[in-house]
Symmetry: C2
Subunit: 372 residues, 2 copies
C-alpha cells in the first residue's frame, strides 16, 4: 500500500527487547516532521497516533491524498503551530505505513511475517520511538501529545522516560483498557479472522485479502467513535436517496451507507494483520497493573506537567477514565490540569474542528512554552 | 434445527397483506402455551419475544435443552404466574423456530426461501399473531408484554388492536429505532453477508452455513446487551485460566472467551437469514412516523392501561426512549405507570433475576387482574 510514495524511514540499529521476550534490531521506523527544530532544540513536540492513524499528521497524506489525520490541530498558526514548533510523528511498530510491522518481509524466510510477527505492546511502541530523540539529538522534548491510543503512548512515554518531556497532553484516553474496550477490539479481530481470505494471517503470501472482515471490523469500531446523540442528530432515520423503504437488504438508511463507506475506504489504506496487532497492544495496555495497582507510581519520578483532556460524549474512553489519570497525578502533587470539553461528537471529537478543544490545546501549549 | 422436536403450529389460512406489498396465506405460526385459559377467557397473556427469542418462554426449551428465555419471570408462582394466567407466546414470522421464515421451503420452487423471503415488519409480526385470539376464541387479552423487540410488538399490537388488550407492559424498548440501533444491526448484517458461505442468502440450498459471520454478529449484539460497568465488574481484565499474557491472538482475557462462546452457541440455534430479517424489521420500526410524527395518536383509540419499564444501565434502549412512550401516553390522558429499575446489567436486565423488576411486574399484573 506504500507503493510509489516516499516514506521517510529511520533504521533502528540498536536492539529493542520487546515485552513478549523477542529482541528486534535493524528495523524501520517511518516518521514525518513538520516545522523546524530551533537551535536550542527546545521546541520539539512528539505526537503519537491512534489505532488507525499514521505519521502523516498534517498537510496531505500521500497515500490517501486526503488531509492528515490531525490537520485541524497541527499546522501553521494552528493549536500545535508548526511555525513555532518542530513536530515529529512516527508510525507505530506493528503498523502498516512503513514502520516494522506484520506486512514486512522476514529476511530470514523471505516471506511476509503475517502472524509470525511478534505481538507488540504500547511499551514497545514508545521504546521504539524514543530512538527519534537520539536521531534528532534532542535532549528533552518540549511536549508529547496524542488522543486515544496516542494518549496511552503519552502516559507510557512519560513513565518510561521521566526526564525527557516538559509537557504531556494525553487526550481522550485511559490508563487501562476496560472490559468493554477489549470486547469491541475482540469483535474486530474475530471479524477479520472469520474472513476465509485471512488464511491464518498468511493472506499476503497467498495473494489474498480479508477485505470483508476488515471492513466489518472498521464499521464496529466506527460506531464506538461516535455518540448515540451525535448519530441521531447527523443521521437519525434519514433514508438514502429516496423517500420510501426498499424492503430489501440494500442500504435503506443513510447511517447504513455511511458505515459501509467507512468500511470500504478503510481497507484501501490499512492492513488486516496490523489491525490485529495494534488492537492487541491496546488491550494489553494496563499502566495501573504495571505499577503494582497504583497509577501514581507511574509518574512518581517525573516533573513533567500534564494537561488531561476528555470529551463529554466519549463513551469509549469516558471522562471518568480520564479523571483517574488526573487523580493519580494529583495524589503525588504533580502539576496537572484537566479540561472536559462539551461535545456531542463522541470519541472522534479529538480529531474534529471543535474550537473550545483546539483553543484549550493552543493556549496550554503556548503558555507552557513561554514559561519554559 | 427443529428436527425431532414437536413444534406446535397454527396454520394461518387467512391472507395476510404484508407491509412490503406481498400477501401470504396458509403459513405456519409456531406457538407455545403455559397454564390454562379460564372459562371467562379473561386471563390470557400474550408474550412477545425479542430478536433471538422464541416461543419457549418457560420450562426447558426442547431445542437448546436450556431454560426458556423468560424463566425468571414466567412460571408457577412467578411474576407472570402460570397457575393463574394462560400464557401464549408465538415465534415471530421471519424467525427460525417453526413460524414462516426464510429457512422454510417455498412450495412453488421446492427450494428454501433464503433472501427470496419477503421483508417483514413489526406490524406484520403482530398482525400474524393476532390470529391466535381467533384460534383460542379470546375476545380480549388480559395483557400483552415483552422486552426489547417484544416491547415494540406490545406498542404495535395495542395501536393496531385498541380494543383487544386490557393491560400492556412494554419493557426496555423504543417507539422508533435510533441511528445507533440501526448501526449495530447493520454491523451484524454486514458480518453475516461478509461470510463467503452466506452465498447471497442461498446457503441452505447449497449445504453451506455462514456460521462465522453469524457468530461475529452475535458477539457485536451481545456487547450492546451489557453495560460498560457491568462488563467491568464481571470480567474487568481478568485473564483466562492463567496469570500471564500469552502474547498471541488466542483468548487471553475472560471477556474474549465469553464473547467467543456466546457466538459459537448461538449459531447452533439460529438461522443467519432470520437474523437479517428480524433485525431489518426492528430497524424499520417507527411508530412515531407511522402516526404522522405524533406517537400519542398511536394510542388515541385505546383504553388499554400501560406500565412502561426501563433499566438504568440499558444504553441500547435507554430510559429516555422509554419515557417518550410515557409522555405520549400522558399527553392523551392514558392510564400509564412508569418504573425505572436500578440495575448494572444493561439491556439484558429484563431477562435476568432482578427482584425489584420481577416484583414490580408481579404486583402490577396481579393488582390489575383483581381490578378487572
Amino acid at each position: 500500500m506504500n507503493k510509489n510514495v516516499n516514506i521517510k524511514n529511520l533504521i533502528i540499529e540498536k536492539p529493542l527487547k520487546l515485552d513478549c521476550g523477542q529482541t528486534i534490531n535493524d528495523f524501520p521506523l517511518a516518521y514525518e516532521t513538520y516545522g523546524a527544530l530551533n537551535e536550542k532544540k527546545d521546541n520539539a513536540i512528539l505526537i503519537f497516533h491512534a489505532l488507525t492513524g499514521d505519521q502523516f499528521v498534517s498537510g496531505i497524506n500521500p497515500i490517501t491524498k486526503k488531509d492528515g489525520w490531525w490537520s485541524y490541530a497541527v499546522g501553521a498558526g494552528k493549536a500545535i503551530d508548526t511555525d513555532k514548533y518542530f513536530v515529529i510523528c512516527a508510525n507505530v511498530i506493528g503498523g502498516c505505513m512503513g514502520s516494522f510491522g506484520p506486512s514486512n518481509t522476514n529476511s530470514k524466510t523471505n516471506k511476509i511475517y503475517g502472524t509470525n510477527f511478534p505481538v507488540i505492546t504500547i511499551n514497545d511502541m514508545v521504546n521504539a520511538q524514543y530512538n527519534l530523540l537520539d536521531f534528532f539529538k534532542i535532549e528533552k522534548l518540549f511536549a508529547v501529545t496524542g488522543g486515544s491510543m496516542g494518549g496511552m503512548q503519552v502516559l507510557q512515554f512519560v513513565s518510561n522516560f521521566p526526564n525527557k518531556v516538559k509537557v504531556a497532553i494525553p487526550i481522550a484516553c485511559t490508563s487501562s483498557h476496560s472490559a468493554q474496550n477489549i470486547a469491541f477490539n475482540e469483535l474486530g479481530r474475530q471479524s477479520i479472522m472469520a474472513d476465509a481470505n485471512w488464511t491464518g494471517g498468511d493472506y499476503s503470501n497467498q495473494n489474498k485479502n480479508p477485505d470483508k472482515g476488515l471492513s466489518v471490523a472498521r464499521m464496529a469500531a466506527h460506531i464506538t467513535y461516535l455518540s448515540k446523540n451525535g448519530l441521531q442528530e447527523k443521521f437519525g432515520r434519514k433514508l438514502q436517496e429516496r423517500d420510501y423503504l426498499k424492503f430489501s437488504f440494500d442500504a435503506d438508511f443513510q447511517i447504513e451507507s455511511y458505515l459501509r463507506h467507512q468500511g470500504s475506504v478503510f481497507v484501501d489504506r490499512f492492513d488486516a494483520n496490523s489491525y490485529l496487532y495494534i488492537t492487541r497492544a491496546m488491550d494489553y495496555f494496563d499502566l495501573i497493573k504495571e505499577y503494582g495497582g497504583n497509577l501514581s507510581k507511574a509518574f512518581a519520578k517525573t516533573k513533567t506537567k500534564f494537561l488531561v483532556i476528555s470529551f463529554t460524549s466519549d463513551w469509549l474512553y469516558p471522562t471518568s477514565e480520564n479523571k483517574e489519570i488526573v487523580i493519580a497525578l494529583n495524589a503525588i502533587g504533580a502539576d496537572v490540569g484537566f479540561v472536559e470539553i462539551e461535545s456531542d461528537k463522541g470519541h472522534d471529537s479529538f480529531l474534529l474542528n471543535i474550537p473550545e478543544f483546539l483553543d484549550t490545546l493552543k493556549d496550554y501549549i503556548n503558555t507552557s512554552y513561554l514559561k519554559n
